[in-house]
């Protein structure tokens, strides 16, 4: 147990350093974007004097290192700054969007993870069979199709042709379960298909690798059925790579859903970030980027810890 705690402490330390580096990178890259917020806000016809005044007011004239230090200091004290585009605190803006993003991600994860596990494990158990080949063709083609194409096709079929579902994902204030279902059906299905294809492939690879180990043959020769050999013997040893695959896929859910959110006009953090880029709204953009980074690091941390807990050698050895 002590070993695990020490490992977790180490990982958290490394994560904090990573965050610091990322914050610097995010800040300086965001500042490389052409154009500036003052110009963007006042429009084409603004006088140079007005723009200069606004720049002064927002502190945009300070040299970049100074602005970086100010921003970082703010972040550390829990103040992510004020959005340049609409004058509201960034935390508040992100807060309401984050809840919606997490809702979408949560639904998707709950459906996609078990689906991908079953798909991956079954195709590994019967590798080389027709089931395996069918799963392979499905997952490979789904990995290859970009999600905007998939989303557009779904909209064409279910919203335009059949008219079953709304093409925009809108949740009314007094929404019923049915409203939620209608709103979430297409975005969730799109994300599920893309994600579970990846996860299923990685799961299959991890399980197949373990199935070729002598201890699985040994289990069969002890009289274990194939499913027992897979579930009780092979799977615990495949946990490391599988959890990593899940973590990677889910971290994509946080940041990479931009396209899906934009297509279905879903009010999540990703579409907020896209707006921030168009408005040159640096504080908002930087905060979003940092948020995705934190989410990613947390997921990877969870994956690492589960891999360690599942492996007695790492657990005891330290």
């Amino acid at each position: 147990m002590k070993v695990i705690l020490r490992l977790i402490a180490q990982r958290i330390g490394v994560s904090l350093i990573t965050l610091l580096i990322v914050s610097a990178v995010v800040f300086f890259i965001a500042n490389l974007l052409p154009g500036d917020a003052a110009q963007e806000m006042l429009g084409q016809s603004a006088t140079p004097e007005a723009v200069a005044e606004l720049r002064e007011a927002y502190g945009l004239n300070d040299p970049p290192p100074v602005r970086y230090a100010k921003w970082l200091g703010g972040l550390l004290t829990g103040d992510a700054g004020v959005s340049l585009a609409n004058d509201r605190p960034v935390d508040a803006l992100i807060g309401e969007r984050l809840r919606k993003s997490l809702l979408l991600a949560g639904f998707t994860a709950v459906l996609a993870v078990p689906f991908a596990m079953v798909l991956g494990i079954v195709s590994a158990m019967y590798s080389g069979s027709r089931i395996d080949k069918a799963v392979n063709i499905f997952t490979l083609s789904m990995v290859a199709v970009p999600e905007f194409l998939l989303a557009t096709i779904l909209v064409l079929i279910f919203a335009v042709e059949l008219n079953w579902l709304p093409s925009l994902s809108y949740i009314p204030r007094d929404a019923t379960a049915y409203d939620y279902f209608r709103a979430f059906a297409m975005p969730v299905v799109t994300l599920c298909i893309v994600l579970s294809a990846q996860m299923a492939r990685l799961t299959r690879a991890a399980v197949v690798e373990q199935l070729s180990q002598p201890y699985v043959e040994m289990a069969l020769l002890k009289g274990a059925t194939l499913s027992r050999a897979v579930l009780r013997h092979a799977l615990p040893n495949a946990v490391g790579p599988i959890v990593n695959a899940i973590a990677l896929s889910l971290s994509y859910l946080l940041g990479g859903v931009v396209i899906v959110e934009v297509i279905f006009n879903y009010p999540g953090v990703a579409s907020l970030m896209v707006d921030a880029v168009t408005n040159r709204d640096m504080p908002l953009l930087q905060a979003c980027a940092m948020l995705f980074c934190v989410g990613y690091l947390i997921l990877v941390l969870i994956a690492d810890i589960s891999a360690i807990v599942a492996n007695p050698k790492l657990r005891k050895g330290g």
């Binding site: 069969l220 002890k222 009289g223 059925t225 492996n311 050698k313």
Partner: protein
């Protein structure tokens, strides 16, 4: 008495159904209850395939195409998967070659040992645990009451192999298949494991099939021996007949590979090419006084002369492979120095010049993993030629052909991929790769241990020839004492990182030995079937790590002649014997 096991006209095929390749050709044999049959042959002889067929199991890609395999009243080839699963582990059990790989690394030993008893409903959990502890005691395992709570990586290889036997015997099966169960073990451990197996088989009146490539081991275990080659039965007879009156030429060839080991010739002495002095090396942090946190080697010195072979011998964990890594510069020594042709040799490989690297070449133990299977032989041999000698194009191709000829392989092999070669061919390529650099010293780390007896003998023959032809120095690292005896001009025996004996080849063969060497020598099985029964019970190898700065004899806990009051209080002195033989021991060997 009727037959317990009957195998009739068994044929096993691989490859596609339309054009199968037969790997077992119509093999038949019978066994009575309680008999032990040995299946012996080289790799590829089909011995494991036949053994697995007794469980109704074929490895992926193989098919049990025709024939009958009767165990008791069941024809294993006629049963479906469910019926087979019911028999496996309960009626017929299996002990795999490498226990380290056949135990699930993430589950506790006890759960795995009793699993088959629970699955088949033979015993309940409590009964099974009691039974398992009984078996652990019977198999002479240390701490039988608690060893089951450990994970596989927490026990030694020899213990794991015995635990696997406990796993097989938990349901008291009628038939046990032992698949090369001691091949991966040290000789001293092998003796203990064989004894435990033999006693257990006898106690339960179990019929057993013992698969091995080592005739001497088989001679200890088996009532009958079945000799196989290329999936065909060469000879099937009782053990004494096979050992003393072998009929088939192949059997005689196997026998002679075991017996023939004293064809030694003294090479003339030459100049020292590599001198190693007072080397200390290990792993972990470097401490303030320059030593390492986990020392593996302490105070090792030796000289390697041109055209001569120095043998380094010891069990696993003795530090012999570490020594090769130190010379190669892969693991820089913490203390001591090395001289190559009289000039200082830097400890780390990245501090050495290209020429120095060229002079010291390593031949790794396992050619399967040392050579990239996707690369062509010509590229593998060509790369050091370009790197060290700047050869390209035509000149390079010609030199590759020469090298292939040197290791007695056809020149057209250059265009084949390494993955497509046999084990013996790969080991020759591995050797040729080292020779391509035109080295002064080659380090051979267990180069024959992964090979079959006959193939290994051929590789050793080649090594001797090359040495005479090219006048290179060889550092030959092995756990096989008979090979070292027949090959080396100088022998160093390592025990837990300490040199306990150092002698010229001639003096080494003549004895007397350090007590540890004595144990090694006497642990090598002979063809005498009574050899195992006359062996006294040895000492369990302690798994404790040696204490730091421990100057006392490291072998004292296992030693049969240790002197109370001396060995546990004073560092052992170095005895000098005639012919410059040196032994680190309190006991005066000259007496």
């Amino acid at each position: 008495m009727t037959n317990h096991v009957e195998v009739n006209q068994l044929r096993v095929d691989v490859g596609p159904l339309e054009s199968p390749k037969t790997i077992v050709h119509d093999v038949s044999f019978t066994l009575k209850r309680g008999e032990v049959l040995a299946l012996i042959g080289e790799s590829g002889s089909g011995k494991t395939t036949i053994a697995l067929s007794l469980l109704g199991y074929a490895r992926p890609g193989c098919r049990l195409s025709s024939g009958a395999v009767n165990v008791g009243n069941d024809n294993m080839l006629a049963l479906n998967e469910k019926q087979l699963a019911d028999l496996r582990g309960r009626k017929v059990a299996y002990v795999a070659q490498s226990a380290a790989a056949a135990f699930n690394p993430s589950r506790r030993i006890m759960d795995q040992v009793i699993e088959s008893a629970l699955m088949h409903g033979v015993l309940n959990r409590e009964q099974a645990k009691v039974k398992a502890v009984d078996l652990f005691k019977q198999l002479a395992l240390p701490e039988p009451d608690t060893i089951g709570a450990r994970y596989p990586h927490e026990v030694s290889g020899g213990q794991l192999q015995r635990l696997m036997a406990a796993m097989a015997l938990i349901c008291e099966p009628e038939l046990v298949i032992f698949d090369e169960p001691t091949t991966a073990l040290d000789v001293t451990t092998q003796v203990e494991v064989l004894k435990a197996f033999k006693a257990a088989v006898k106690a339960y009146n179990t019929t057993a099939v013992y698969v091995s490539h080592d005739l001497a081991v088989v001679a200890q275990m088996a009532d009958r021996i079945l000799v196989l080659q290329h999936g065909k039965v060469m000879e099937n007879n009782v053990t004494s007949q096979i050992l003393n009156h072998a009929e088939h030429p192949y059997t005689r060839q196997l026998l002679s590979a075991v017996q023939d080991s004293d064809a030694f010739q003294d090479n003339p002495k030459h100049d020292t090419v590599l001198e190693v002095a007072n080397i200390e090396a290990g792993y972990g942090k470097i401490l303030r006084d320059g030593s390492v946190e986990i020392p593996v080697l302490s105070d090792i010195s030796l000289k390697v002369r041109q055209g001569q072979t120095v043998g380094i011998i010891g069990e696993s964990g003795s530090g012999k492979s570490t020594f090769a890594r130190v010379i190669a510069g892969l693991l820089p020594a913490a203390k001591g120095y090395m001289l190559l042709n009289g000039k200082e040799l830097k400890p780390a490989i990245d501090e050495r010049s290209k020429a120095e690297c060229q002079h010291i070449q390593m031949v790794f133990q396992n050619a399967d993993t040392a050579l990239n299977p996707a690369h062509k032989v010509g590229d593998i041999l060509g790369r050091p030629l370009t790197f060290f000698h700047g050869l390209t194009g035509r000149a390079r191709a010609e030199r590759v052909a020469e090298l292939l000829e040197l290791v007695k392989l056809p020149a057209d092999l250059a265009h084949r991929k390494c993955g497509a070669l046999s084990g013996g061919q790969k080991q020759r390529i591995n050797l040729a790769r080292a020779l391509a650099a035109e080295p002064t010293v080659i380090l051979c780390d267990e180069v024959t241990s992964a090979l079959d007896t006959v193939v290994a003998a051929a590789i050793l023959e080649l090594l001797k020839e090359l040495q005479q032809k090219l006048n290179i120095a060889i550092v030959f690292i092995s756990h096989d004492i008979s090979t070292v005896k027949s090959l080396c001009d100088e022998v160093v025996v390592l025990y837990k990182g300490k040199k306990v004996e150092h002698a010229s080849g001639k003096a080494f063969r003549a004895g007397p030995y350090h007590p540890y060497t004595e144990l090694l020598v006497s642990s090598v099985p002979t063809l005498d079937p009574l050899w195992l029964d006359t062996k006294p019970d040895g000492h369990e190898q302690p798994t404790v790590r040696i204490a730091q700065n421990d100057a006392l004899c490291r072998f004292r806990n296992r030693c049969s002649v240790s002197i109370l009051g001396q060995c546990d209080s004073l560092p052992p002195p170095e005895h000098k014997l005639p012919e410059d033989k040196r032994i680190l021991c309190h006991k005066d060997m000259a007496l």
